[in-house]
Assembly symmetry: C2
Homo-oligomer: 137 residues x 2
DNA sequence: GTATATGCAAAACTTTTGCATCCTT
DNA sequence: AAGGATGCAAAAGTTTTGCATATAC
């Protein structure tokens, strides 16, 4: 779990906005946030942090490797704390709920596909879209 | 390969802009286009079609099932003719070249992962990011 | 004290839309 | 002739940036 130490190691000063944003990402009841989600959480917690700062900080966190940015359908970025354990995502198109999953075989086949095409794999994103358990009831 | 017949079947009138945009998607030396790519191709071909029309038509084609829209990293949509044969994509982060690939086992495991989580799969996107063969030389 | 970070407002970008006019059937 | 499509310009939505002020070290 990232903390102020991680900020320093990333060359980022330990400022109040950064700590507050980190707290939202760590302690929220969700793991996946749009920038607006983060901003609203801060407002609700009584924190007065500019929207521009939220974006700046999230981008800095992303560059520092603390946060992952996803480009799901819908045109808005979704941010998530990088816990170091890679996983993929199922996104409910109705309620926007995000479920994480992992399949070792899929990872292996991706690497194999990349090698086969002489492609130097750096990263990947696998998003499943559909209806989550709650929304099919 | 879609044609004016497909337009009619989709409830879309056979208009010059639609035919021209279809022609770009079919006959370009690439298969993957941003809206701007399409617009520029039209300009180069001497066609005077509004940018807004390009977006409108691409969206209509998407809804009609003629075209797929991808959300790669970078924040701009990428469009591709839907040839009916599902495939995934490797995107070169240096030259933006897009390579298609398909792995039946990955498809199977995705379905299995969805079922395991009681998730009704509708669609998915798998993008590999890295350096293509040309860019690692 | 110095360098870096933040707030605010404005800009940049992509994509969509309102409306008058034009085209297809 | 009638309904749908296009062009233009303006709007909408997300994300970034310039600059003066404030903060961390």
């Amino acid at each position: 779990m990232p903390n102020s130490q991680d900020l320093k190691e990333a060359g980022l000063k330990t400022t109040l906005p950064r700590l507050r944003i980190l707290a939202v990402l760590e302690n929220g009841n969700q793991r996946h946030f749009t920038a607006e989600d983060v901003y609203k959480s801060l407002l609700e917690a009584g924190e007065d942090i500019a929207f521009a700062t939220v974006y700046r900080v999230l981008t800095q966190f992303e560059n520092a490797g603390l946060v992952l940015r996803h480009n799901f359908e819908g045109g808005r970025s979704v941010f998530e704390l990088d816990d170091g354990e890679h996983h993929d995502h199922m996104v409910c198109v109705k309620c926007n709920n995000v479920t994480e999953f992992y399949d070792a075989e899929i990872e292996v086949r991706q690497k194999a596909a990349a090698e086969k095409h002489n492609f130097e794999l750096q990263d990947h994103s696998l998003y499943l879209y559909g209806l989550c358990g709650n929304c099919t009831k």
